[in-house]
Amino acid sequence: MTDLTNLTVAAIRDGHRAGDFSAVEVAEAFNANVAGAKALNAFIVETPEHALAAAKQADADRSAGTLKPLSGVPIGMKDLFATNGVQTTAASHMLEGFVPRYESTVSQKLWDAGCGMLGKLNLDQFAMGSSNETSYFGNVISPWKRNDGGNAALAPGGSSGGSSSAIAARLCPAATGTDTGGSIRQPAAFVGISGIKPTYGRCSRWGIVAFASSLDQAGPMARDVRDCAIMLENMAGFDPKDATSLNMAVPNWEAALSSDLKGKRVGIPKEYRLEGIDPEIDAMWDAGIAMLKDAGAEVVEISLPHTKYALPTYYIIAPAEASSNLARYDGVRYGLRDLPDGAGLQDMYAATRADGFGPEVKRRIMIGTYVLSAGFYDAYYTQAQKVRTLIARDFEAAFGVCDVILAPTAPSAAFGLGEKMADPLAMYLNDVFAVPASLAGLPAMSVPAALNREGLPLGLQIIGKAFDEQGVLNAGLAIEERAGFNARAEKWW
């Protein structure tokens, strides 16, 4: 019998529909893989009973002829989405033990579509990190190893590192992610899977633990482009409970998938050719350009002149919004309370927040507090918001001459755990290619393109015009078909 855990979302959906297997068999197979992969630390909470209940319902629905779009598909849920009755922590001590009494819009949509939940996936604390090393619940380990015979534990990327590790290790066929400055795309690239951040506002933020609200956007991670399209269709949609939700119909992205790029122009931003970058990254990028030409696209050089300012802009705006959003954790209404003997209210706030937040979260709250404080607001925050306008204008001008933009997802392959933790700035620089599209609110995806000389996956990024997820998915599909990436991590866990 085929290994059900090696099937894609589309194959599970279609096979279940055709009666090739039961949803319960699928759920049990994935539950077993999850239970056997503790060494990866991808899950904070496992919910095999949720996956099984949804599977039983899917099998009953099949008998009754009332199948839903994703009946029989079990998924992983990033532990940033509030799930009714299931602990939701954002990988923080602050929210350890927090059990929401409501369901996030995105997760509710997936349950309504027939999905079951295998568990809550580990992440960087409050989604702040690029290596999944800031989680209160321990590092997530990538299933990948370098081919140098060494045994170094590698980062699965971040912040959606539990999602990326679990999909690459066949613990779930797809998972939710969130992307504030690359947190879907970079982890997808690090483990050789696909992931798309849609246009800002496509997926409701309601019920997602807030990090930087003008940037936060949910999206799917899965093994291929089709699965990303299927998942996104079932996550996106207008939600009156999110003030920035887009009131637009959700296109049928899967049905319109096409890798024929005739008549499409692909922009290659010259500012993304970084001096001193690993030549393998540039070589992969050049190979991607050739693939898109082969698919019929015309390639044009473009300029995004403010690219070098994107990261510093991001590291003002995101911490500023985070310092405001995370002010809610005060030890009064939910989450941790640390009340030293004889302490008053102010001391309780300070003790609670000192105890409940990890070092990276504190660092960002402090930066954000400083750039928003009287006397510095204009010099830092207003200036960053102005540069953000210029970065968005760069993209607008570029999309006058091209339909999609092709770039690397990250400037390196996965690095080893601990290699970058000593220097926060070095870690931030890993998001150099991912952050500009976030600042401009544009849809962007990563698809696996190649293995480097260490045997580790590298990803290509496609950035599209606002609302043009289809163009992004189609270019991603063209690369997927030509790259023929089918490498997977050898099981050691």
């Binding site: 003030a243 300070a350 003790a351």
Partner: protein
């Protein structure tokens, strides 16, 4: 502009995060590294550029003027609201005494 440890302690106080002297010392270097790096934004000419307020053009909506139109976000959910409170008492959030 470099910040000193007194400024670090001031920021921590504004952010309501208790820090030790050792933490303040460590953070002084880290924050100066990050702030020194973001200061390069000062060299960008932003004359006549409006600060971004919405990344995707979108207008704010008004909800229907109906009480509890959405049961999830409407009223009468006191027990749900208090369910995760560290010290709920008599249907309220409990806090330490604030009278000096």
């Amino acid at each position: 502009m470099a910040i000193d440890q007194a400024t670090v302690r001031k920021i921590a106080s504004l952010a309501r995060i208790a820090i030790s002297d050792a933490e303040a010392a460590a953070m002084e270097g880290e924050l100066n590294g990050i702030l020194g790096w973001v200061e390069q934004l000062g060299e960008v000419d932003v004359t006549g550029v409006e600060p971004m307020t919405a990344v995707i053009p979108n207008s704010l909506r008004l909800r229907d003027d109906v009480i509890d139109a959405d049961p999830l976000t409407g009223g009468n959910r006191r027990d749900d609201v208090l369910a995760n409170a560290p010290a709920a008492q008599h249907g309220f959030f409990g806090v330490p005494k604030v009278i000096e």
